[in-house]
Every structure is written in structure tokens, then in C-alpha cells.
């Protein structure tokens, strides 16, 4: 059985029960609900990052935080808090995502820049656009959009539904479509994939656009959820997006991705911080323990893969 994602879910379940152990079971549904709400944002950016990392060594998108900020800032500014503008706002956020993805890939392809450099440099430009467009003012989302993003359906948060639907689409595309096979093949061996007639540059371009669109959706939802776009709203999603991919059991060397693991890892990343906060761990202890636990899970997940 080759199921590296099981470790992320196991760790999430452990962190969940450890937190509840403190309250002797009280607050279980509140904690689960909060984990699903906040985990959704990490899961959405994580899915995008997973696709890019699957492209193979050296492929990563470091412009995710800036893309989130820019998409959210422009969308919320255009909506201006007016009711009935939610779809227009979503359209703007998606357009920003596509534009950012195309720009990132253009830098990588035309200038032959390594993706790390290209996306990092471009992210400074996107962040500056966000600053320039609205000078950091937090504009409230329209009430209907705020209600949607903080609301629930069938007991689950709406943002979690969005994250789950995106995860299902990603899984189907990866596992059942030609494009998904092309992506995995490109990630396993770019040269072999090219010689086999796979349009590898098309695959790379579409992957960089997809990650930017996912980041834009996450930014749009997060700003609607938390009452406005802030200039530093994406900051913690840079490392988060990479961490959930690695903890989720996807290969950091590319060519092997894992959709369920991303969601498990996203829940875990929220729950482990909640657990350590609940136990009263200081910031230093919390960071050390979080790091140690992540290393532990990655080792567990990868040694399992080797045995299998």
C-alpha cells in the first residue's frame, strides 16, 4: 500500500484529540469547524503549489502571497462593499490570477529565469501594485459575500466546500485526464517526456497559471472571510503552501502528487498550532515543536514510500 497521505491525517487526528484531551471533549465540533474553515485557505494554495512542485526540481511558485494580496485588494476595491457585486469581484480576482500566472511563466520561459528567482522577483512587483492601488486601506466585502464566506452548508463551512470541490477537480484532472498524465510525466523526467511528444512547455504554462488562479481564489475568499484585504494577508501562506505539499506526502522532487494529503496537512497545520496554544506553549517552543513534528511526518511518509 502506497499511501503517504495517511501520515498527515493521522497527525491531524492526534493533534485534534490532544487538544480535546485538555477540555475533556468539550468544544469538539467548534474546533473541527474552525480547522475546516482556516484549513481551506491553506488547502487551496497548497493544491496549486502541489501542481507546480510536481513539475519537477526547481519548480515552485513564491509569488503566492503577493498574488493573494493583489487579487483580494483589486477585487475588494472594485466591489467597494456594494451588494450584488460578488460575481464581478470573483471575476476580477480570477483575471488577476490568470494575468499573474501568464506573467510568471513569461519570465520563466522568455528570460530563462529559474522559477524561484522569477516568481520571487515578480512577487515584489505584484505586492507593489497592491500597495499602489489602494495604499493598504481595508475595504469591507459586500455583505452577501461576507455572509457566504463565513456561512455554512450541511454543517460544513462554505470555504471548506470550495476547497473540497477544488481538491476533487484537481484529483480527477491529475488521475484521470491526459493533462494530468502529462504533468506527472514531465515531473518525472522532463527530457523523456519531451522526447515522448508531450507538449511540456504547454503543461508548464498551464500549471503556473493554475497555481496563480488558486492563489487568487484563496486571497479573494480570505479577504471576504476576514473583513477586508490587508497588505500582509498572504505572508504566512508562502511557507504554508510548501509545507502542506511536503507533509501531505507529495514528492518534493516532483512527478508524484497527492491530493488527499494536502487537505490532511492543511488541517494538521491549523490543529497543531491550536494544540500548542491550548497547552500554553510560548512562541519559541511552539515553533521548535512545529518544526520537529513536520520533520517527523516527512520522514514517516517518505520511509513508508521507500519500503513500498
Amino acid at each position: 500500500m502506497n499511501k503517504p497521505w495517511i501520515w498527515a491525517w493521522l497527525a491531524a487526528a492526534l493533534a485534534f484529540s490532544a487538544t480535546l484531551g485538555l477540555t475533556s471533549g468539550r468544544g469538539a465540533s467548534e474546533l473541527a469547524y474552525a480547522a475546516l474553515s482556516f484549513g481551506a485557505f491553506a488547502a487551496i494554495v497548497g493544491l496549486g503549489q502541489m501542481l507546480v512542485i510536481t513539475l519537477g526540481p526547481g519548480n515552485v511558485d513564491l509569488s503566492i502571497p503577493a498574488t493573494m494580496t493583489l487579487a483580494a485588494t483589486l477585487a475588494l476595491k472594485a466591489m467597494g462593499g456594494n451588494p450584488g457585486t460578488a460575481l464581478m469581484g470573483l471575476g476580477i480576482a480570477l483575471s488577476v490570477g490568470v494575468a499573474v500566472g501568464v506573467a510568471n511563466y513569461a519570465l520563466i520561459f522568455l528570460l530563462r529565469l529559474p522559477p524561484i528567482i522569477a516568481t520571487l522577483a515578480a512577487s515584489l512587483v505584484y505586492q507593489s501594485f497592491a500597495i499602489w492601488s489602494n495604499r493598504g486601506l481595508r475595504i469591507k466585502p459586500p455583505q452577501d459575500l461576507a455572509d457566504f464566506s463565513t456561512g455554512r452548508l450541511l454543517g460544513l463551512p462554505n470555504v471548506a466546500w470550495v476547497g473540497l470541490v477544488l481538491a476533487c477537480i484537481t484529483w480527477v484532472v491529475l488521475e484521470r485526464s491526459v493533462w494530468g498524465r502529462w504533468l506527472l510525466a514531465s515531473g518525472q523526467n522532463l527530457r523523456a517526456a519531451r522526447l515522448a511528444g508531450i507538449p511540456v512547455e504547454l503543461v508548464r504554462a498551464s500549471t503556473y497559471v493554475t497555481v496563480a488562479v488558486f492563489a487568487a481564489i484563496a486571497g479573494f475568499l480570505l479577504a471576504s472571510f476576514s473583513g477586508g484585504a490587508a497588505l500582509n494577508m498572504g505572508a504566512e501562506y508562502l511557507l504554508m503552501s510548501i509545507a502542506v505539499v511536503v507533509i501531505g506526502g507529495s514528492s518534493i522532487a516532483g512527478g508524484d502528487s497527492n491530493v488527499p494529503g494536502v487537505w490532511g496537512a492543511a488541517l494538521f497545520m491549523f490543529l497543531v498550532v491550536s494544540m500548542l496554544n491550548s497547552y500554553g506553549a510560548g512562541a519559541g517552543v511552539r515553533n521548535v515543536l512545529t518544526g520537529t513534528i513536520i520533520i517527523g511526518i516527512v520522514i514517516a511518509a517518505s520511509s513508508r514510500r521507500i519500503r513500498a
Partner: protein, 341 residues
Amino acid sequence: MNISRMLLGAAGIAMTAGLAHADAHSGDTSEMRIALSNNYAGNSWRQAMLQTWKESTAQAVADGVVAAADAYTTSENQATEQAAQIQNMILQGYDAIVLNAASPTALNGAVKEACDAGVIVVSFDGIVTEPCAYRIAVDFAQMGREQVEYLATRLADGGNLLEIRGLAGVFVDDEISKGIHEGVDNNDQFEIVGSVHGDWAQDVAQKAVAGILPSLPEVVGVVTQGGDGYGTAQAFEAAGRDTPLIVLGNRQDELQWWAEQRDANGYETLSLSIAPGVASLAFWVAQQVLAGEEVPQDLTVPFLKITQADLDEALASTPEGSVANVSYFLEDAQQVIADAE
């Protein structure tokens, strides 16, 4: 102007006392150039700070007080990058550098070079420890203590408190938290039952509070550091808990929420933070030093405090999505200098 008066009142300063010194700037600074070295621009507080700098200094330049007052911000919030920026400013021949530093110690070398080259360095908000620089410091510990003192006046029976901290590892976070814990030690009817890092950001605070709430008993009050009160309130609401007494930090969304709660159910609280306009105070202090005034190395800037009575006025004067602000003028700088002597 009224906010300005409020602020001065908060620090226990009488406005009139400053006027006696108003004609004391003797030296001519009209040929001199002042630069702002700023380490970070990525949040609404810093944006408001830069905006105030621009407005105050444009007026000063137009009035012929100084020849130029240019603002520079580093892109990566790195001490090394800011040190290089300061060295460039020395080479460009600025007469004074107003500095919001990325680190209290890492820039000391560059600051010393500036002093040795005869450049006046005035640090504010993010201050530097180099003795030759001037420091416009905020008594952050006092800010923490005042929050608990206020809660003690409102909640006579005491109870459980939740502490929202700032960015881990930053001096300001340690200081405010220290003040809060001192306050709690002096008021033993309170107990801090939980502490999370909100990074001075509403969305981060909301996430952290949502994660710790299920494990907490009833919370009667929340002590904060600014920029985290609205997110905290949202997390309490989402968890279906009664809204505790949350001390706010002057952000417009916090004030807006406060006004809504007040109209709905008579919610009453206190909001306090540092006005981003402190940059304009630093500008005038630098101008005073250049003018040859006797200025102590260590100055203290008062908080901007908003009470129930001032709420409507503060809300009306704060741009949507920004932070309550006040511009400082020459008289304010002279007052702060006089107080420190």
C-alpha cells in the same frame, strides 16, 4: 485638531505650556535636507505613516522650513538593506536622517557612521540603541499596563483574560506583553487563561483565536496589541460565544465595529495605539536639532487613546480601512522635548 488635543490630554500635557517655547527655534534650517529611512511599508499603519510624512513635510518644504524631506522605504525589511540605504543617504549629503529601524541593534554601525559624518539621526517607533542617535520611544509596557487598569475599572469581579500578542521575537511584542503581565500581577482578580500570536493582523488573530477558543473557559476580557481586535471579535462571534470586553487598537474596522456594537447593545470599551503621525513628530524633532536646539537623546511619545466619548469623532476623521491618526506640529515637538528635559 481635536484628536491632537485628546492625545496631548492623554499624556497629561497642557497644550498651552508648549506655546511659551514656540518662538525658540533660532537656527535657520531652510537650506537643510532631511531623509526618512523606513524599513517596511506593507501594512495600513505604515501606509498612513508615509502619507502623514508626505503631507507634513510638503507643507514644511513649501513654508521654507527645510529644503527637502524625502522618504525612502526598503523593499525587504532587512537590516542589511537598510544599513546600505543609510550609507547612501550619508553620501547624498542629507543633514538629518529620520529612521524607523528594522532592528534596534543591527543598524548601529551605519548609524554611528552617519553621526561621525555629522548627520543627525532621529529614530522613532523602531528605535536604535546607538547612543549618538535620538530616540522617540513609546512606552509600550505602559500601553499593556493601561489595558489591564482599564479592565479593572470595568470588571470589578475580575475573571479570565485572553491575550493577543503581536509578532513573535519583535521588541514591541515583548514590551506590551510584559506590561500586560505586570498589570495582571497588580490586579489578581484577573487571570490570563490563553495567549496567542495575532501578528498585528486581523486575519491571523482571527485564525489563532478560533483555534484556542474551544479549549478556553469563559473569557471576560481580551487584551490586544492593535490591529487584532476586529479579527478577535469575529472569532468569538463565529464560535457563538458572548463578546467579551475587547480592548481595541485604533484601526478603522475596529472603531466601526465598536460603533455598531454600541448602537446595538451599548458596548463600551477603550482603544489605544500609537498614531502613525509619530513620523511627523520625528521630522520636527530632527528640524529642532538642526536648528541648534538643546534636545535630550531620549524622548517619549504619548499614545493616541480613544474613549467612548470620542468614538464618533475619531471614526469620522479616520479614512475607511485606515488607522486613527494625528499629525504633529512644531509646537508638539517642542512640548515633547520640554517634557523630557
